[in-house]
């Protein structure tokens, strides 16, 4: 199938749907069908991407004046990212079933286009265009369907990440200026005259997106104000875009420079891990707590990326998927609690288990996974990162373990405050019945957390080839 349809099709479809369909149920079905078919398509690409280098899907739009050939290539890394994205989009659609607006789902459909472009296009300019275009549906989704402070949050989110994009653009500009090539698959580190400068620009640009301390402050605001399913999309896809780009550009493309500055990523990653954890420990706003927990996990991903080794990158990709699976149900349930009790603060909650056992059980399971309990995906991520980073940096990296006791601290106390204990008035008077599709989405998250936790080889078999070549050549893919 022509991959162009997968990128521009959704955008056109979104426009049509937004204009002609006022019945939201129909749009929901359309978006589900679209995302499921795109998931199938991206899974089928795993075969094409079985070897660990780029395979060409097609080159479109040729211009002699400027190098804006839309080159679409897929490798294992981008295929895995696409699968994760569409899986999350399906679950996000299911869990926003209660929103009665066709425009909302049209925006979700629209989001699917550029995000496919981000993961497939190897032309720097097109990569950048798609990168920026993903912001637009996000901006509206937060700005229109968000909570009270949505305007401030969406603008902060937009400007913040936009500012980061400027640095990235500058870096791309320098890359092109120095190497004369606009295609990632052909750029070698040795072609660049000032690799350090380019690396730093890209690192900061992507670090904002990931986010890494000290560039993380947009995230709690954006997450808190966004509607819960959009928080899932932010945490599961947008942050992963940052990590993906970090791996793709700052690590795989420039392994020597990355090696040189690996300690900086490591230290910032460790700071993020602990610092965000401590923030979550003091946080009484339930969704902000989850947001800080999300940042803390991304710190772990940064630690794994900083190793610049096959094992570390593999572990980081696993942890990225684990993070998406674990943090999403937490966001969904935190959002649900606010939706039904009208409060963000844990003091107004308590005893949820007595009122809504299913939701509470999923929340408990996801919390246990987030603190790295064996048998859940969270543990496999932590274990592989621990082993990979100790292999690279030596024994002192055992300090990563401290992250999981901080995690246990805030998550177990949250469970005590929200799920267990005496039932609070606002929980008692609220109704926690949710429609079947939202139950189904939570169930899928819970099952995936356990299945990948008990049988991680299913997931590792898929993601591991992504970095195989990185080992052999000691660098460039």
């Amino acid at each position: 199938m022509n991959p162009l349809y997968m990128i521009f099709g959704p955008v056109v479809l979104a426009a049509l749907v937004g204009i002609f369909f006022k019945e939201d149920f129909l749009v929901k079905i359309i978006s589900l069908v679209l995302f499921v078919s795109m998931l199938i398509w991206s899974v089928s690409m795993l075969d094409t991407a079985s070897i660990n280098s780029f395979s060409l899907l097609g080159t479109y739009i040729h211009c002699n004046l400027i190098p804006i050939d839309l080159t679409l290539q897929v490798d294992r890394l981008s295929a895995v990212m696409l699968i994760l994205t569409f899986l999350l989009l399906i679950l996000v659609t299911l869990s926003s079933w209660n929103i009665k607006s066709s425009a909302y789902f049209a925006l979700l459909i629209m989001f699917a286009g550029p995000i496919t472009g981000v993961f497939l296009s190897t032309n720097l300019i097109w990569f950048f265009i798609f990168w920026e275009l993903t912001l637009i549906p996000m901006f509206f989704l937060i700005g229109i369907w968000g909570a009270e402070g949505r305007i401030y949050a969406s603008i902060k989110f937009f400007l913040y990440t936009h500012f980061a994009s400027m640095l990235i653009l500058l870096a791309f500009f320098l890359i092109y200026k120095q190497s004369g090539i606009m295609d990632i698959s052909m750029i070698k580190e040795s072609m660049l005259a000032t690799p350090a400068l380019i690396w730093w620009l890209m690192f900061i640009g992507f670090a904002v997106k990931m986010p890494i301390f000290p560039f993380h402050t947009w995230l709690p605001d954006a997450h808190v104000q966004a509607p819960a399913p959009i928080s899932v999309l932010l945490a599961g896809v947008l942050l992963k875009m940052g990590a993906y780009a970090m791996i793709r550009f700052a690590i795989i493309m420039m392994p020597q420079t990355a090696e040189k500055y690996s300690y900086i990523i490591l230290i910032l990653g460790l700071i993020t891990l602990f610092y965000a954890g401590f923030n979550a420990l003091y946080e009484r706003h339930i969704k902000k707590m989850v947001a800080y927990s999300s940042i803390s996990h991304m710190g772990l991903v940064a630690v794994a990326i900083s190793t610049v080794t096959y094992a570390g990158l593999s572990a980081s990709l696993f942890e990225m998927i684990a993070h998406a699976l674990v943090i999403s149900p937490l966001f969904l349930i935190a959002g649900l609690l606010h939706e039904r009790t009208g409060s963000w603060y844990m003091k107004d909650m308590g005893g949820l288990m007595q009122k809504a056992p299913f939701i509470s059980t999923v929340f408990v399971l996801a919390s246990l996974a987030a603190l790295g309990l064996p048998g859940t995906v969270g543990f496999i991520g932590e274990l592989s990162i621990l082993i990979a980073s100790i292999q690279k940096y030596g024994l002192w990296l055992a300090v990563i373990a401290i992250g999981s006791i901080i995690g246990a601290g805030y998550l177990i106390w949250t469970l005590r405050r929200v799920i267990y204990g005496e039932i609070s008035d606002s929980v008692k008077t609220s109704n926690f019945r949710i429609c079947k599709t939202r139950v189904f989405a939570l169930l899928i998250f819970a099952l995936l957390i356990i299945i990948f936790g008990l049988f991680p080889s299913i997931l590792f078999d898929i993601i591991d080839p992504a970095f195989q070549a990185f080992n052999h050549t000691g660098g460039a893919l």
Binding site: I155, F173, T217, N279, L373, I405, Y420, F455, F460
Partner: protein
């Protein structure tokens, strides 16, 4: 055999799910599924035990990434088999007992499925060949313990107790987690037997070995309720008594000792056994002294569990695997007996835990009094009950070994001898004397013979019979004799008899004098210290609250809001741009804003494109 082993490892988890689902239609089903599962598991263990000739082992690769392979094999040797017998045997008896104990609870399916999950975790722990499987079982038990302690989660105290249990043990567990990373780095294997052989042959760096042994021991301290991570164990008594019996008396708390025993050669090579013995001796003393003054019977048993586990630790610390492990086995049986006995008393006495409200129950609950009495004799070390032999073996080992002679051996002897005081006091206060609460006394219910008394009887008989097989158990586990010291048994026995007379006088004959004594300011102060477990919990709580939560966490909370956020918002080169736009953007509609952005992007692309060409 391999099929049986796989069934042994998977059945509890499968049954846990089935018990929960089946219990939703009829709560009775969940009990029967649990009961049958318990019996099957015990039967499989017995088959494995009687056919044992050499260790059973199965290699399984769990997952592989990059060039790193993570195995999760199964390895069952004599040590594992003994632990399996305890876990499944006592587990089955405990489930049987719960039929009556949990009868009125509306959440039986959840109870049985969590108990089965726990048993599964314990089986996984003891039959794991690698650190990964061991850690998995370790954490499964931790989470089952957390869920079961807060089984009545709608009340404040059990919910808090669950948090305490989880965080205290988790604090230890992160060290085990770190040790996994360290050992894998140092030896490139996580196989427990290989780690032992590599440690002995000196292939692992001595310092690394010591650090990892220490880290693993910290996890053991947390799980086995040793000083200073024991306060959770006392709080855990908020859970159902059947849970306290199984998890916090007989099985899970043993896992700390098991892990040290499993890596015994590593500990020997790392010269870390002295640390084990020291912590054990301190905990034994603290636990024994605190147990003497508790007023709740479950708290007495909790402190005595702590004290006796420490005695087993001292046995290992004195380089005697045999003494430590035999004491662990004997302790598991008589402690489960005592806990379930306490549960039976509570069931009959309308869930009153305070011993000062009971008394004279021996007349009404004669069988429970007899069986608990046998547990009391075994715990305090009276021949021919099993506790006598193993406790004396540990104390002998402590006096014989050069490393532990002195303070450690004195402390453990004192703790061992003091057992009779707290446990005798417990028995006397419950079953002898006058009924102190007449109203309660009249309402005492008779327990069911089949569901309540039978499991107690089985364990009471076991603790008696086991006394005759101490040497063979010791041989089965370690291949060595129990340590023996001349005349030690006589000394210990005479001390026990003397103290028994003391208990008789103070808690039976002249209870009035004892009560008067308590009002003396010095005794009152001492009583207060002991009653609160030497204030360890208060100190830890104060430290964590003031330094971690109100210190670091609060500081980073305000730092993030007032420094990082503002700095990034306003002092970057683009600050004026952001500020300006933020102000202006309030008057923009979102569509205008995005239109500007897209326009901006296009302009920038053009600039780059043309800039690049020149």
């Amino acid at each position: 055999m391999n099929t049986l082993i796989i069934i042994l490892l998977t059945l509890p988890f499968v049954s846990a799910i089935i018990a929960y689902i089946a219990g939703r239609s009829n709560q009775k089903y969940s009990f029967w599924i649990a009961e049958i599962t318990g019996i099957i598991l015990f039967a499989i263990t017995l088959i494995l035990f009687f056919n044992y000739s050499k260790p059973y082992s199965i290699d399984i690769e769990w997952f592989k990434f990059a060039n790193i392979s993570m195995p999760m094999g199964i390895y069952i040797d004599s040590l594992s088999l003994v632990m399996l017998l305890i876990a499944t045997g006592l587990g089955a008896l405990d489930i049987h007992f719960a039929h009556d104990y949990m009868q009125d609870d509306p959440h039986k399916p959840r109870y049985y499925s969590e108990v089965l999950f726990f048993i599964g975790g314990m089986i996984l722990l003891v039959s794991a060949a690698e650190m990964t499987g061991l850690f998995m079982g370790w954490e499964f038990m931790g989470v089952a313990s957390y869920l079961l302690i807060s089984f009545w989660h709608h009340q404040k105290a059990p919910a808090d107790a669950g948090v305490s249990a989880f965080l205290f043990t988790r604090f230890g567990d992160i060290f085990l987690f770190a040790a996994i990373g360290i050992l894998f780095y140092a030896s490139n294997t996580l196989n427990l037997e290989q780690l032992n052989t590599m440690a002995v042959s000196g292939k692992i760096d001595k310092d690394i070995l010591f650090v990892s042994a220490l880290f693993i021991f910290i996890a053991a301290i947390g799980k086995s309720g040793q000083f200073p991570l024991f306060p959770w164990l006392m709080r855990a008594m908020e859970g159902p008594t059947t849970v306290s019996a199984l998890i916090h008396g007989a099985t899970m708390v043993n896992s700390g000792i098991y892990i040290v025993a499993r890596l015994f050669h590593l500990y020997t090579a790392a010269e870390a056994l002295t640390v084990v013995a020291t912590i054990g001796a301190i905990s034994a003393f603290l636990g024994a002294t605190s147990a003497i003054v508790q007023s709740e019977m479950k708290k007495v048993l909790a402190y005595s569990t702590m004290s006796h586990l420490s005695i087993a630790f001292v046995g290992l610390g004195a380089s005697s695997l045999a003494a430590g492990m035999t004491h662990l086995i004997n302790h598991a049986i008589f402690k489960a007996l005592l806990f379930l006995g306490a549960g039976a008393v509570m069931l009959s006495a309308h869930h009153v835990k305070d011993m000062w409200r009971l008394g004279s129950l021996g007349k009404k609950l004669i069988w429970i009094a007899v069986f608990m009495g046998m547990g009391v004799l075994s715990l305090s070390g009276v021949p021919p009950f099993s506790g006598y032999y193993s406790k004396d073996a540990v104390i002998a080992a402590a006096w014989l070994s050069n490393d532990t002679q002195g303070a450690i051996s004195i402390l453990v002897t004192v703790a061992g001898v003091l057992s009779i005081v707290y446990i005798g006091r417990l028995w006397v206060l419950i079953f002898a004397g006058k009924a102190r609460d007449e109203k309660l006394y009249k309402e005492i219910k008779k327990p069911s013979l089949f569901w309540i008394v039978l499991p107690l009887g089985v364990m009471a008989v076991l603790t008696l019979i086991m006394g005759f097989f101490q040497e063979s158990i010791s041989h089965f586990i370690s291949g060595n004799d129990l340590p023996h010291m001349k005349y030690l048994g006589y000394y210990m026995l005479s001390a026990v008899i003397l103290l028994a007379i003391f208990v008789y006088l103070f808690y039976y004959r002249r209870l009035d004098i004892t009560q008067k004594l308590y009002s003396h300011p010095f005794v009152k102060g001492l009583h207060n210290i002991l009653f609160n477990g030497w204030f360890i919990e208060k100190i830890i709580h104060w430290g964590v609250w003031n330094f971690i939560v109100e210190g670091i966490a609060k500081a980073s909370y305000y730092f993030d809001r007032n420094i990082v956020d503002r700095f990034i918002n306003f002092s970057l080169p683009a600050s004026s741009f952001i500020n300006h736009t933020l102000n202006r953007a309030k008057s923009l509609t979102p569509s205008q804003d995005s239109a500007y952005t897209i326009a901006g992007v296009i302009v920038l692309i053009a600039v780059i494109a043309f800039g690049g060409i020149r």
